[in-house]
Symmetry: C2
Subunit: 447 residues, 2 copies
């Protein structure tokens, strides 16, 4: 399915005007970055990169799209002719999916003619802004859970397509599973879930419902015990399933107290291996507040799919460098930047490296292209070594001549991103994992 | 495209267990409602209803979905056989799209067997929770703008599919247009947009960029004047386009001051008809703060597509009534409700009416089915008349025997919802339009 109309109208009117002015063919570098971390977060987690590559590949104007643009007189005939042949043939590089980022990190760089690259702005930002908001929130929840599994269960609290992207982003950030079946099918993410209150209410009694669930799903299932009365629900659950009952789920009430009481009750009933899962409007702070209780697993819904108070990452897509032409006659690269109050951009193509001392990240170094060849200088690694630091490159090739590198796509890309996120978060200094608002964990330095 | 896997796994495991227990065929009534209005809002606006009907119609399991469920052993063979033939054949009624709602309003009622109706929970909630969050935020912005047009420009700050739904919901709530082209194509919403800062940076000078834009789009276009210096940008814009310039856009800075200065400058240059559009991280409060300035139009992005601080509406889908069987032998209807702490539900099928005095809404009356026939009593209108009130029915038939009423679908449905929203908000008492946090504008009374 084409993504070409998932686009702001002004991308097309800019194209039309640039085709007329003769500037549409200028080689350009666009950069995705965020100006700040929302809500006093100390780090962000980039997600959506693999989906961006799919969206760019699917950015094609078919006859149906061209007919609609013509009927609505969105652009003129010359522009329609350009769009009919449009296929992105440029270069995309950027941070790996799952990477930790800071304000100003050059997250994605798109190189192509103005015409080619400007059209992609909206869909690139839609994907990265949402997916990274979820991953950034999810990573904090994973830290707060201190090794206990967290399942993503928020499909019902975000758009029906966003739900699939949210499951993917949360998994990349370290969640263990999702309730969303489409995320399981499309991205290979483990799915989970057993029953809701409606299942209990459907039956003549809680006991009948539990017997039905155990008959269908086995004694290893998780029974939801708070439809009527938790204490009685737990007693019934163990009576029906026996002490081998897999788990009970608590979805309401004062959880720290309830978890302790339920653990004691289960143990007294001999169900010492029965796990306790909690799922009631949890966020990273509620998860942290359950540290020290005998909780086994978490399910998180609304807060993770809505970015826990920061539902958009605030990334922008800005022109940072251009040439006067294209190809061999294109001339020198010129950094460009806007000067709008509070919204300045930094000109020049960039790459970045994370500087580490003894395996712990201490800074992020951004290397700006300064000899006009469009290739940022790579002597930063040498400079770092001179200071006794190691430099881990952050910028990878994602798409070459319009072809995505397959390692970043599909379930394989998701698995790689998840592993990479765990490693990148693991490099951060301990203070970065604090949940309280603060400054970004790593300073940005320019080479 | 099927919506069948945009579903939480537990809907399918509940189906499996209910098929085994023999309870899957019980006639059920599920109800969508919200327990509270987020953020101290005084009213909500329901959106997404038309999309819900489309999603229910598209909820079919094809061979690809069945194969995946079988491979993953999500459910057993009997359940797969049921899903292969699944098509919703029940009844859906609810509030019209664009309707104003309160906590506890019975927004949507789905009637069918447990098996038929339980499967729809996730996708129904995904659509309504997101779309209504946007519409509820958008309606406050429309009130704050006091008749000035507002365009929705937030596609880049929400998922790439959610962006289309957001444009639709904002338009229903009274926005004038959207930047999103797919929303224009799919839902018939007017689209708008001219140029971004990149267009100015692409050219050798701001003047060259403005000349290019005017050449392509005419002097009626809107020029973005804050790339370098607003005062110089405005001067250049009028010099290039002449005093017939359609508009200028301000996207940064202290807007109230800047709008006044720009208006004075434009007037001094003879461009007295040139309109001023502002677009810098606006929300309902920033819009209200521009009252009294000579601003002409607003563009709103992040805040509207993320629900202005409340990105999910908090709607739930609860079993409220059931019979012991189905059809003629189904027996009496029984209200059912869970008792979970802080999350209670109210049993019984419901309809609702808005009570008005002299055309102003004073309360919402919820009528619960109490004779067990599954049809709520309709004597509320009589009771209202006895009190000198009029009663406007809020519950409409949306889907009969699985077939949606076409008046709620497509661009026609969107236009009807937009007109209905304007009328429903227009009925509210003046205090309901205050932006400060407060109580719900209308009390709920039960008949």
């Amino acid at each position: 399915m084409t993504t070409a109309l998932r686009t702001d109208r002004y991308e097309l009117t800019m194209l039309e005007a640039a085709l007329r002015s003769g500037r549409a063919g200028r080689d350009c570098v666009f950069e995705v970055f965020g100006r700040r971390l929302p809500g006093g977060r100390r780090y962000g987690v980039l997600a959506g990169t693999g989906r961006v590559l799919d969206a760019i590949t699917a950015f094609r104007f078919g006859q149906a799209e061209l007919d609609w643009l013509a009927d609505e007189r969105v652009v003129d005939d010359a522009t329609l002719a350009y769009l009919a042949d449009y296929r992105f043939t440029g270069q995309v590089e950027g941070y790996r999916e799952g990477e930790v980022y800071m304000p100003g990190s050059p997250l994605l760089t798109v190189r192509g003619t103005f015409a080619e690259a400007v059209l992609l702005e909206t869909v690139v930002l839609s994907v990265l802004n949402y997916d990274s908001a979820v991953a950034t929130a999810a990573a904090r929840m994973v830290s707060a859970a201190e090794g206990h599994p967290i399942a993503e269960m928020g499909s019902r609290r975000t758009g029906e397509h966003a739900a699939v992207a949210a499951a993917r982003a949360a998994y990349i950030a370290g969640f263990s599973a999702t309730s969303n079946l489409e995320a399981g099918r499309t991205w290979g993410i483990p799915t989970m879930g057993t029953a809701a209150h409606a299942f209990t209410l459907l039956h003549d009694s809680e006991e009948e419902a539990f017997r039905a669930q155990v008959a269908a799903l086995g004694v290893g299932t998780t029974l939801l015990v708070d439809t009527y009365d938790v204490r009685q629900g737990v007693e019934t659950a163990v009576r029906v399933a026996g002490p081998q009952l897999g788990g009970v789920r608590l979805d309401s009430g004062d959880l720290p107290t309830l978890v302790r009481e339920t653990r004691a009750q289960l143990d007294a009933l001999g169900a010492t291996g029965t796990r306790i899962t909690v799922t009631s409007d949890l966020d990273e702070h509620a998860i942290a507040a359950l540290r020290g209780t005998p909780v086994d697993a978490f399910g998180v819904g609304t807060s993770v799919v809505t970015g826990a108070g920061a539902p958009a990452s605030g990334f922008v897509y800005k022109l940072v460098a251009r040439r006067d032409g294209t190809g061999a006659d294109g001339g020198a690269w010129k950094p460009v930047a806007k000067n709008s109050v509070g919204k300045r951009s930094v000109g020049g193509a960039k790459r970045a490296e994370r500087l580490l001392r003894d395996g712990v990240a201490v800074a992020e170094r951004v290397v700006v292209d300064d000899d006009g060849d469009g290739i940022p200088e790579r002597d930063a690694a040498d400079a770092a070594r001179a200071e006794g630091l190691t430099a881990r490159p952050l910028t990878a090739t994602l798409m070459r001549d319009g072809e995505p590198d397959p390692q970043w796509l599909g379930p394989e890309g998701v698995r790689a991103a998840r592993a990479h996120c765990a490693a990148a978060v693991g490099e951060l200094p301990a203070a970065a994992l604090r949940l309280s608002p603060g400054d970004p964990a790593l300073p940005l330095v320019t080479a």
